[in-house]
């Protein structure tokens, strides 16, 4: 049996107050905690560090606001890859796998787990490079299928409902003024012309406190 892997991050390096919902439990951390140990479902610790670093270059934390690091994108991706999506549970997988034209869609056999595992092997040590070196390394692979997946998953992890492990504290939604699901916009939909109407974001679990959600990544 594989030893359980943890992503260990220094709280100071992320900064501020974060809420990670881990295994459906909210966990509030503060800068006083020296380190965060997050149980991983798919990645090894080394792989998680690379994905955390790479997604933070795609969606950096800077003057225009927080980014992939604060939103917990790596946790989101880890769960997705461990779940049915990562295993291609719902993709047509019958052989023969033949090369087609672009408009016929992705035809290779490798599932997202395998795509990540292979690509991360080639990025060993990435998390220890300087930001400039990291950008150069990503530029080299930006036309690969892996990079397209990582890019897409970074956006998903920034803006998904927090139930999926990303968008921690609805940090992504706050960044763009998205309020999350709202039970009614009927009074507002034809108002506020030309001005930003920005209700306070709420997550699904906040709206439906008693509902036990089963996000797709927890399905068999």
């Amino acid at each position: 049996m594989k030893r359980r892997q943890f992503l260990v991050l220094s709280a100071a390096s992320i900064g501020g107050v974060l809420v990670y919902s881990l295994d459906r439990k909210a966990l509030r951390l503060s800068a006083e905690d020296r380190a965060i140990r997050i149980p991983l479902r798919f990645f090894t610790q080394d792989e998680a560090m690379i994905v955390a670093a790479a997604s933070a270059r795609i969606f950096p934390s800077d003057d225009s606001g927080p980014g992939a690091k604060e939103a917990g994108v790596v946790i989101y991706i880890d769960r997705q890859l461990a779940g049915p999506y990562g295993r291609d549970r719902h993709r047509y997988k019958q052989a023969p796998f033949e090369e087609g034209v672009r408009e016929q869609g992705y035809q290779l056999e490798a599932n997202p787990q395998q795509v990540y595992r292979a690509a991360l092997k080639d990025l060993t040590g990435f998390d220890r490079l300087s930001p400039g070196e990291q950008d150069a390394a990503l530029t080299k692979i930006e036309d690969t299928y892996f990079f397209r997946l990582l890019h897409r998953h970074t956006i998903e992890g920034m803006f998904c409902d927090p139930i999926h492990g990303g968008n921690v504290d609805m940090i992504g939604w706050q960044l763009i003024g998205y309020p999350g699901p709202r039970m009614s916009n009927a009074k507002d939909v034809d108002q506020h012309f030309g001005e930003a109407f920005r209700p306070k974001p709420t997550s699904l679990q906040e709206i439906f406190k008693d509902t036990r959600f089963q996000p797709s990544e927890d399905e068999p």
Binding site: I58, G100, E156, I176, V189
Partner: protein, 586 residues
């Protein structure tokens, strides 16, 4: 194989058309009706907590499971067909309610001339103007014959809108290009978000005729003729790809299931996947004996029935007839045969505009928006144009959800990741207006369906194969639509607009529309169509087929209202004529 006790009617597929037929037969006859649905059962209250973009809109929780069943695609017979391994350009449903659960709610009538497209086009432009290989057909039914059924369908689902043509009289505020309506829409138009109002003002300033999109996401509480009460829309922005949390969007589960639940003669069997329609008799004079299917325990059983209704969406309507050896398969070389012929999709193009003010795009509904029909059908002169027919321009405020909409940028921003990309994506996120164009896709001799020789479904049956590509007519139409959409966005005050590429090869990775039509078309003669104008199989009198697989070609509008109207019409043909004298109803 176990044989079940005989029933009067077996309906294959529990979506909009199958359940509507079940409801009609349940209400108007004493026949024992069984509906077979391959997917899971569903109830209206399933959707209260489904506003999760990731699981529903991105991971496609409600759609057909491609690991079990998909289609293969090639652009022409020389290319190797490969499976569409993950859904993209269209999203078939599964489960009770089918794609009718996660549709967008646009409820348009087709233009009157589209039912007689071949006759009208040749009359006006001559045979020579038809594109090479063009195979368009008349439907065998006219708009005038369809009109009362359109009205019934609009009342069933409570369409919100403004009729622009009431009994031939043009009414301000509606669509003046629409065919005559015998009644006003049951509900007033939806509220319009700001960006839709900008589009309305801009298109009016260009001399066009904007009007509200007719919507099944209803504007106010409504009780339909069956006594079904639904609430008005709250503009939450979770329509297409979702079930409606409050039932404001008409869906089979909220509009038909509550009626069927009270009908003792109708039974819905979910997790029951039809494999064959079993027939006896000679090829040209077959008789359907019933349907074999795999039940929820995985056992194959035979359900005998006197009447078979096939209503399992375009893909399985075609595949089941092919697997069951019913009808004459289309031969694209000899251009003979009918089954699988006339495959069409939808031209779906448009442009994006970038504005200086925020638009609060999170608010809206699937079908809340404004459309113009000035460039639809033959509403404008094609004399000097390089294409025939047209489509509708729309601005829909459907609720811009963040995963799908973040990172959409004007051409002046070239970064695709990193700090500059992030900053620009945040800046533009809520300042985008999309003018979309839904154009007609004519049928061609070279676009068809047959069975794939290589790839199988999870039960071992061959997958359906698409041979499908865009032709010059659609490419030229898309160029025209891109230019027009850009003009409209500029008139709305866009600072920048995208410069959409010319339509190239059919691309299964990019969402177009879930409008796949044809293959089991209705028409006027067995040489040209699979079904007669009552949607009865030419060769098998006790088999009727429902849904968009019966369309000889795509019209510009969304197909749902038309398939509902057709189903009411077929129900009349069955109840008033077929049951009294089983045989061809013509």
């Amino acid at each position: 194989m176990k044989t079940l006790p005989r029933v009067d009617v077996v309906i294959v597929g529990g979506g909009w058309t199958g359940l509507l037929m079940a409801k009609e037969l349940g209400a108007r006859t004493n026949l024992k009706v069984v509906v077979l649905e391959r997917g899971a059962p569903r109830e209206p209250h399933d959707y209260l907590t489904d506003m999760d973009e990731l699981d529903y809109a991105i991971r496609l929780r409600m759609m057909q499971d491609a690991s079990k069943e998909t289609v293969t695609l090639r652009h022409d017979p020389k290319q190797r067909a490969l499976p569409i391994r993950q859904l993209g350009s269209f999203l078939p449903g599964t489960g009770v309610g089918g794609a009718g659960e996660h549709w967008q709610g646009l409820s348009l009538r087709f233009s009157p001339d589209s039912f007689e497209i071949r006759t009208r086009t040749i009359e006006k432009y001559g045979m020579k103007r038809l594109p090479e290989d063009c195979d368009i057909r008349d439907w065998g039914v006219t708009y005038q014959q369809m009109e009362p059924y359109y009205t019934r369908a609009e009342k069933l689902i409570g369409v919100s809108g403004k009729a622009g043509n009431l009994n031939g009289k043009i009414v301000a505020g509606g669509d003046p290009f629409d065919g005559p309506h015998s009644a006003e829409y049951p509900n007033p138009p939806m509220k319009m978000p700001h960006v839709a109002e900008m589009f309305r003002a801009a298109t009016a300033s260009l001399g066009l005729h904007p009007c509200p999109v007719p919507a099944a996401t209803i504007s106010t509480a409504y009780t339909n003729p069956d006594g079904i009460h639904r609430l008005g829309c709250v503009y939450c922005g979770y329509c297409e790809r979702f079930g409606c949390m409050i039932g404001a969007k008409a869906q089979p589960t909220n509009t038909l299931l509550p009626v069927i639940a009270k009908q003792k003669n109708v039974t819905i069997r979910s997790r029951s996947a039809a494999r064959r329609i079993v027939c006896d008799g000679s090829i040209k004079d077959q008789h359907a004996k019933g349907v074999s299917y795999v039940d929820e325990k995985g056992e194959e059983v035979f359900q005998p029935a006197d009447l078979v209704i096939l209503s399992s969406w375009t893909l399985n309507n075609n595949r089941l007839l092919m697997l069951s050896n019913i009808g004459t398969r289309y031969d694209p070389v000899a251009r003979k045969g009918t089954l699988g012929r006339h495959l069409t999709h939808q031209v779906s193009t448009g442009a994006l505009g970038f504005f200086d003010k925020p638009l609060n795009r999170f608010m809206g509904a699937g079908a809340s928006g404004i459309m113009v029909s000035d460039y639809d059908a033959d509403n404008f002169s094609h004399k000097d144009l390089s294409f025939l027919r047209g489509g509708k321009f729309m601005l829909l405020a459907s609720g811009a959800r963040p995963i799908a909409n973040f990172g959409v940028l004007p051409p002046s921003v070239t970064a695709t990741w990193g700090a500059e990309w992030k900053k620009a994506s945040i800046q533009w996120y809520d300042r985008i207006g999309a003018v979309i164009f839904e154009g007609e896709h004519m049928s061609y001799a070279g676009n068809f369906m047959d069975l794939d020789p290589t790839y199988k479904d999870h039960l071992g049956d061959p997958l359906l194969r698409f041979t499908l590509n865009w032709q010059e007519n659609e490419r030229n139409m898309s160029d025209f639509s891109n230019t027009k959409a850009t003009e409209m966005l500029r008139a709305m005050g866009a600072k920048e607009t995208t410069d959409p590429a010319r339509l190239q090869n059919y691309d299964c990775t990019k969402y177009q529309a879930t409008h796949i039509q044809g293959g089991t078309t209705m028409g006027e003669s067995p040489e040209d169509s699979v079904l007669n104008s009552s949607q009865q199989h030419w060769d098998v009198n006790n088999l009727f087929v429902l849904g968009a697989s019966t369309f000889p070609q795509n019209a510009s509008g969304n197909p749902t209202l038309t398939i509902l109207a057709q189903t009411f019409r077929v129900a009349d043909a069955i109840v008033e004529r077929y049951l009294k004298n089983p045989g061809p109803v013509g």
